[in-house]
Symmetry: D3
Subunit: 212 residues, 6 copies
Amino acid sequence: MGIHNYFKSLSDLEGIFRCPGKFKYQEHSVASHSFKVTKIAQFLGTVEEHQGTQIDWRTLYEKAINHDYAELFTGDIKTPVKYAMPELKELFSQVEETMTRNFIAQEIPEEFQAIYERLFSEGKDDSIEGKILAVADKIDLLYESFGEIQKGNPETLFLEIYEEALSTIIRYQELHCVQYFLENILPEMLEEGVIPYTQINKVSKHILGKKQ
Amino acid sequence: MGIHNYFKSLSDLEGIFRCPGKFKYQEHSVASHSFKVTKIAQFLGTVEEHQGTQIDWRTLYEKAINHDYAELFTGDIKTPVKYAMPELKELFSQVEETMTRNFIAQEIPEEFQAIYERLFSEGKDDSIEGKILAVADKIDLLYESFGEIQKGNPETLFLEIYEEALSTIIRYQELHCVQYFLENILPEMLEEGVIPYTQINKVSKHILGKKQ
Amino acid sequence: MGIHNYFKSLSDLEGIFRCPGKFKYQEHSVASHSFKVTKIAQFLGTVEEHQGTQIDWRTLYEKAINHDYAELFTGDIKTPVKYAMPELKELFSQVEETMTRNFIAQEIPEEFQAIYERLFSEGKDDSIEGKILAVADKIDLLYESFGEIQKGNPETLFLEIYEEALSTIIRYQELHCVQYFLENILPEMLEEGVIPYTQINKVSKHILGKKQ
Amino acid sequence: MGIHNYFKSLSDLEGIFRCPGKFKYQEHSVASHSFKVTKIAQFLGTVEEHQGTQIDWRTLYEKAINHDYAELFTGDIKTPVKYAMPELKELFSQVEETMTRNFIAQEIPEEFQAIYERLFSEGKDDSIEGKILAVADKIDLLYESFGEIQKGNPETLFLEIYEEALSTIIRYQELHCVQYFLENILPEMLEEGVIPYTQINKVSKHILGKKQ
Amino acid sequence: MGIHNYFKSLSDLEGIFRCPGKFKYQEHSVASHSFKVTKIAQFLGTVEEHQGTQIDWRTLYEKAINHDYAELFTGDIKTPVKYAMPELKELFSQVEETMTRNFIAQEIPEEFQAIYERLFSEGKDDSIEGKILAVADKIDLLYESFGEIQKGNPETLFLEIYEEALSTIIRYQELHCVQYFLENILPEMLEEGVIPYTQINKVSKHILGKKQ
Amino acid sequence: MGIHNYFKSLSDLEGIFRCPGKFKYQEHSVASHSFKVTKIAQFLGTVEEHQGTQIDWRTLYEKAINHDYAELFTGDIKTPVKYAMPELKELFSQVEETMTRNFIAQEIPEEFQAIYERLFSEGKDDSIEGKILAVADKIDLLYESFGEIQKGNPETLFLEIYEEALSTIIRYQELHCVQYFLENILPEMLEEGVIPYTQINKVSKHILGKKQ
């Protein structure tokens, strides 16, 4: 009961893995994802501000670090569900909201309840900070699915996720930071490629050749 | 598309873990749980039949091996949710049913769809086989929570799960197999205890004493 | 001592992994394997019955769910041994049998010993149910080895296992369910392929192209 | 090269585990730790602000989310080293600083280098935000060591870590948020206790007793 | 084929875990065990030599580093089997020997075959080096079982293993190094104990007390 | 305190993983690496002796089994650091040396301290045994990086490690054992290749073809 339970629950997010069930070379917990989204949002905000947009940093950080806290209650079920049947997304949102409200009522001391209602509310609104969060969330998803495909995951789901993530990012292309991403970061990512096995032979021959 | 996808999905159940997020010493996948429930149901049916009850074995096995297949679509979210807010259970049941129906329509060839609708339907009905499934499911849960408490898990959730599981089992005490469980198996489990660390000193002294 | 020990031992099968030592992208426990073989046997039996063959479902389920229980005593050593030196297989079978018999004598109450001797006896006999078990066991092995090769496992052992599994399946081609597998499921599996890394570039360009 | 490498490196922090080598029941990555510290700092800042202290939220979030990024270069080596030989801490700080500077020069575009030098600089200064970070970092460490002791870890190192963490927190007791922690959160934590195994017997008897 | 296969097989020993199936808090691979046994044998030999015994160090190291290589072929099955049914040990030894001989014939170049036959032969003979190996092997087993009991493993098997290991060590008590172990190392181990949870309360109160 | 702590610390090396942070398909602990390097050094020494070189086997084994013990204190940080900034290597060596010296003073009984100073000193000197250690260490690193590339790891770091390892090995090409490695083992390794996915189709068609 109380903040102790809230602090303890943070550790539970280390044990909830994204996209459960599907084979992955690399697992990502909700805790790690939240960390990465916050760091990505930090960079996107920096670019945006550099171009003259005014950023409310407190709001941006609040949205980013808290955006998946409700998965504590339901697990990361939305991704596979969302792709399979968009009409169910709404149902789950309601469940999450109810459980979040109950959690605040039970665990957060009264004087902070209003604040935590704001902190745990849906962050992806139409403000610049809400948009940056939406983009940062998708960039991390893009990296996750890119990583799987690049490592050789044969599951087409990851190509679908990659596609969905990139398509969503582009929907925000009026943002300076999205333009920056598309012009500077995505090309670097796409250039990366894989290491064909034959490379080992080439490198070996090259090194062995030098010895004579 | 088709049975190949169905066969592949069985492997996804190896990667969906029960009671996600909560710290556990030992993880159990939905695939493993289904295996254990089927083996437990097999024993319970054997006891029941030995006492003269007629068992429809085909039905019993069908119910046991398939009883959690729908978790493929939603993950194992019901347990924590159920304990926190029973009123949400219904909502999730609907989601599972819809997704199961869609899966059958998409992946199972038409000539077998009726059969798989039966196989994937809720197994815990009022038949003797449905009751044995309900008991076997709770016995495995009892063993899971017992194992955590015995290993020293400080999380009170596992005591609550143990309590809930045993209480449910007792609700079926008119069954011969439940009586057998309460009289012969549960006492053996409860006798097991822990190994106090001081035991090492005692054993060591005993062995060292013999050497002189 | 007693059924409690038997129930507890089921959990040990969650910790015995198939083909130990060899590098794998995805590990499979004996418990999970037993689950999958039972589900596959269920489908094969369904096909067979649909073609008019009479299936003794109780026997089929018994054979499938119990077929690897003896690995509890010896671990999954037979696979690598079998492929390397077929003459040793017999030796291990004897060890397994002795240990199984001892286990039944020690743990299973007298009134159920005869039943468990049947349940734990070798299931792959010449009955239709024994043949379906043999095929289901090999189909799961085929999927395991297929999964490794598809994910890029360079170990030739998995190609050998794949080859051995498919060759064994074909030996049962007089069964309707094997014909169904060869005509409908295997082609779907082979079509699946891999996702070449270049696909990411193509997808990205396609999405980026649409934005202008 | 560039921000792509920076984004990719975030994932490396998911694979760097705290206090390497020592046996732990529960591993914590640097990524997860950073997430938790940021969430804890968020709460501490909320308490502090509620008591009238002015918080620069942007600074607080920047300090919290970035505070262990340099461990990317060196791993989490400081903890065991620090406890064993405080005089070595300085050496490692230098190495971290040099490597961080090199990373910024190589990967961060020139226009953002000054900002990232600030973001990656040591956060635990004498500002209120620096103090909150110091406290939040130790609270997470307190929870990590508490969790190990509570689960039965016999390694005295964790008691030493607990002691060191709590002693450091108390050094900041002039802060409202530290007082709040000591008065409201720590007592809740200490009350939690363990579940003695005998509890299972008691619960079982209670449930079984009710059935007659 | 050849030494490349031999080198590759070393890595397989990283994936073969000791005492498979049984729940453990900490897993130990055959590769790690071989490393530890060699380090322990090094210390025991040092003690023995310090007391004037002549040690053939080459032989001691050969015996220690190679003593479990044959488990590559059969896995670590002997431990549970040995404890359950000693009469089966002989059977497995034969299998291991045959497989080792085949491996040498197939993979080791002719000019080194005689040497590898010596290296891979049973090391626990009546020489001082053979005895030190026997003791070192049991000391590591003692530490493994001690570690499990100390961490709270309720499985009595580990107490039996501890007992068997210590009893075997004592059988070699005429060795100086065993006397050293019994007088200097074992008492340190037994003193270690566990950390009762109440210690946290005591430490916390002590620290909190100092603050006023 | 004392040898008990030394023996316990061996197990910590099972939990320190090489090249932390970077994604790997297969993790290798320092304990496993030490085992493999000792086995490789054993083979290299055998080849060298076979060609008439005199090997001090005790020295060779001492160097091999102990060569990474100091990583207990610092973790495996040198590899990534070394590749990024060679000038930092020296700093870390100093830290390791100081910590090793302190460990010996604290834990090793006085009569054995001189011996353990020798055992824990840098082994890669100009003696034939020091050179064999240097080569064996790099051969294991070569296998580790080869394994990652062969399994499809897209991280160029592993190609750089492979290159660095092979280049170092060649620097010792005056050794008979290095010549043996380059002529007999490396070609076998390079021949191994990958299994193109199309192989499955070919094998399947071949087997299916035979059935008619």
